[in-house]
Amino acid sequence: MHPRPNDSLQPMADVDAARRELEAALGSGAVLTDPLALRLYARDASMVEGECAIVALPTTTEQVQACVSIAAAHDLPIVPRGSGTGLAGGATPIGDSLVVVTARMTGIVEVRPEDRLAWVEPGVPNLDLTNHLRPMGFTFAPDPSSQQTSSIGGNVSTNAGGPHCLAYGVTSAHVLALDVVMPDGSLERLGAEGPEAAGYDLRGVVVGSEGTLGVVTRVCVRIVPTPPAVRTMLFGFDTVEACAATVTSIIARGVVPAAVEMMDQGIVRAVERFARAGYPVDAAAVLLVEVDGTEAGVAAQTREVEMAAGDNGVSSVRVAADDEERALLWKGRKSAFGAIAQIAPHYHLHDCVVPRTKLVDVMRGVYAIAERHGLIVTNVFHAGDGNLHPLFSFDRSVPGTLERVLQASDEVVRLCVDAGGALSGEHGIGLEKRDFMPLVFSAEDLNAQACVRASFDPDGRMNPQKVLPDGARCGEFAVAATGTGEATPDAAGLPEGSWI
């Protein structure tokens, strides 16, 4: 239990009072306080372990409003949560908090092809929406690798990407409007069903805000027609350099493929044992390229991509002949994270983005770091966007290993930042990376971000201690709004092991 600034004014008994009020509003089955449940919801898919006081499972917007109001009345921090597949600790609760889980809000409210939109509740799993839209000839473009489990609400909060965001853009390009329960319990519709809305683009800043600006209870997504033709190709290369150079060559030929995924030998071998997708295990690296469009457009792009691969000395070429083979090739890529469990019991995954032209340098650097620390590293990433996912595999029970992984991880982040990159391409900052924020932003930048946050949440109630590091303060606004000079509570110590 860590101290909050006004702990002395808020006796512990408030948790019980809050629980009783929540049970009255949501029903007793939707409010969990037993130790097992609290333990289950104390973490997401990152390795950060936290703690919480109450877990609420609302099914309606009104119930979410009740959660927010009750939490405010009892001064409980609120931690919104979807399916809990986040990798940065964004949904890991800290202290006496109320976890508001939107996973039971699973309605696909309406699909309007004539307006190219669909209204969905936040708990709808990404893949369920895609499957629902397919018979209508439409798709929801963001497709994170976790799409079977991860929810639309979670995709919104992390501005999720996925292999196909190279051509189609990330989640924020596919969100027209959001119904948001604001930190004061009011309900606002940000954005509009039309292409533009009145006011500042609050929708745009809520997407990717990791549950720190409000609780999203309904999402108006943009749906796009499924392209009539698609082709998936797999290329093997003798060197990592040739593989990465092919990405640049493809772009230089004026092709923007739907997806360009790169995997190194370590991950290919693990995947082959697991998925039997027929990947070339002798290649130093493979490139999975997908193009889509009309039949003629796909033929033209395929030709250009094959020429780009040829120019870089490709050693094996495989073009999926049918949907079955295409699915198999994608199975290889999408099962990468399942496959690495064979290498070692634990893994730590990174999510840095670097300029596309720096891919090779950064990969070499990552290998060197792993070697220096005696660690196994494999690489699977969205090469088209410069989004690396180096993955350290290790056994936590071996003394000293965790420390080495921590040190190596720190070096990987710095390497990417030095190459002109960003801290996260699609997973978010959460708890894991917040202390790295000063590497990429000045104090003034971070203060401005704190102002954005405080403009939504003057009391600092939403998902405290996430995203922004200690010390980021919105001075101007805090004085004006509260008269006390502090807009956000002081961050206390993070739980032990919050790094991994």
């Binding site: 190219r116 009145a198 003629a296 990159g421 930048d445």
Partner: protein
């Protein structure tokens, strides 16, 4: 004020904040009419901040100072076979297009212009330099201040530099024109895949096709199945043939945004408009104040907005922005003295 450097902007705004001097930020003046009436004591011109900061075609990103003219940026990118698909007036500045929340005529294919802005340098009303985003095509690192500044009409700060995503200029482009209305335009937009734009005027539909050479032939054949009279325009003709800034200077032009299926019923009987099927944007002429009132009534009834983009009329007040208190706090945080075009944006300070 004609700053030549970011330091000049900082100094000018600090000074203006101290003396409560109300400032209107000005780029190419092409979108100067957008926004509510705002009294200003001084203008800050960004047009001398017009340098290319970084351009690596392989990254499909370009970093420029905000006062660069769209024409100059187009010329630079075209040398490398790329474009920033803003479809803005050539004299507009890059920063002005972003600050005004302008939309591309090819939004159906190229997406919202706001999504092309990946990094920004902004000088707040009190002269603080704030960076956000990164020079990468995707990024979830902190709060996207640049998204708030995009479309803020110069009320949160002066945009001094941006990194925008660019795209390859397609191998071939073709515009087909056919007699027709929004019904035909909507049919083409839903039947012809990957169409770059389907623009309807009261009597003609312009269909923009962009892609690979063989692909264009394939798509053109699909268009002709729906519109047998569709004829190709001269490849040198601009798209659209008559963008709103070339229309006669007569009253007001609004840039309406509404759900796409409502375009037809909303625009019926109107004399002059260009509407983007399947997108829901329409530039509409409103020669008189009564016309403007009538058009706004229709658009708002359809759940849309109709801000004036040229001529009098402001943003229209019937549709208030959501979360007014958040707007007020943002405004106060980024412009504590309230000097940046007070009253111009949706929510007053």
């Amino acid at each position: 004020m004609h700053p030549r450097t970011v330091a000049d902007v900082v100094e000018a705004l600090r000074d203006a904040s101290q003396h409560r001097c109300r400032v209107l930020v000005v780029g190419g003046r092409t979108h100067i009419d957008k926004g509510n009436v705002s009294e200003a004591d001084a203008e800050l011109w960004t047009t001398q901040l017009d340098q290319v900061v970084a351009y690596e075609p392989g990254e499909m990103l370009v970093v420029v100072q905000a006062g660069m003219r769209c024409r100059a940026l187009s010329d630079l990118l075209a040398e490398h076979g790329q474009e920033w698909p803003a479809d803005a007036p050539p004299d507009a500045t890059v920063g002005g297009v972003i600050a005004s929340g302008s939309s591309s005529s090819r939004r159906l294919r190229v997406g919202a212009l706001r999504d092309s802005v990946v990094e920004m340098e902004l000088v707040t009303g009190d002269g603080r330099i704030v960076h956000s985003g990164a020079r990468t095509v995707k990024n979830v690192t902190g709060y996207d201040v640049h998204r708030l500044a995009t479309g803020s009409l110069g009320t949160l700060g002066v945009i001094t530099q941006v990194a925008v995503k660019v795209r390859p200029i397609p191998e071939r482009a073709l515009t087909l024109a056919t007699p027709g209305d929004l019904l035909l335009a909507s049919a083409i937009a839903s039947e012809v895949p990957l169409v770059a734009s389907v623009l309807a005027t009261p009597d003609v539909v312009e269909v923009r096709l962009e892609g690979w050479t063989d692909e264009i032939d394939e798509l053109a054949a699909m268009v002709r199945r729906l519109a047998p009279d569709a004829a190709p325009l001269d490849t040198a003709a601009p798209f659209p043939r008559e963008p709103w800034w070339t229309w006669p200077d007569d009253g007001t032009i609004v840039e309406a945004a509404l759900p796409p299926s409502k375009l037809g019923p909303t625009l019926t009987t109107l004399k002059r408009y260009s509407a983007l099927a399947a997108v829901g944007l329409a530039w509409i002429a409103a020669p008189t104040a009564d016309d403007l009132t009538a058009i706004r009534g229709r658009v708002e009834a359809a759940g849309g907005i109709a801000p004036a983009i040229r001529g009098p009329g402001g943003l229209g007040n019937a549709t208030p922005a959501a979360a007014a208190d958040v707007h007020r706090r943002l405004r106060h945080s980024f412009d504590p003295a309230g000097i940046l075009a007070p009253g111009r944006a949706w929510v007053s300070a």
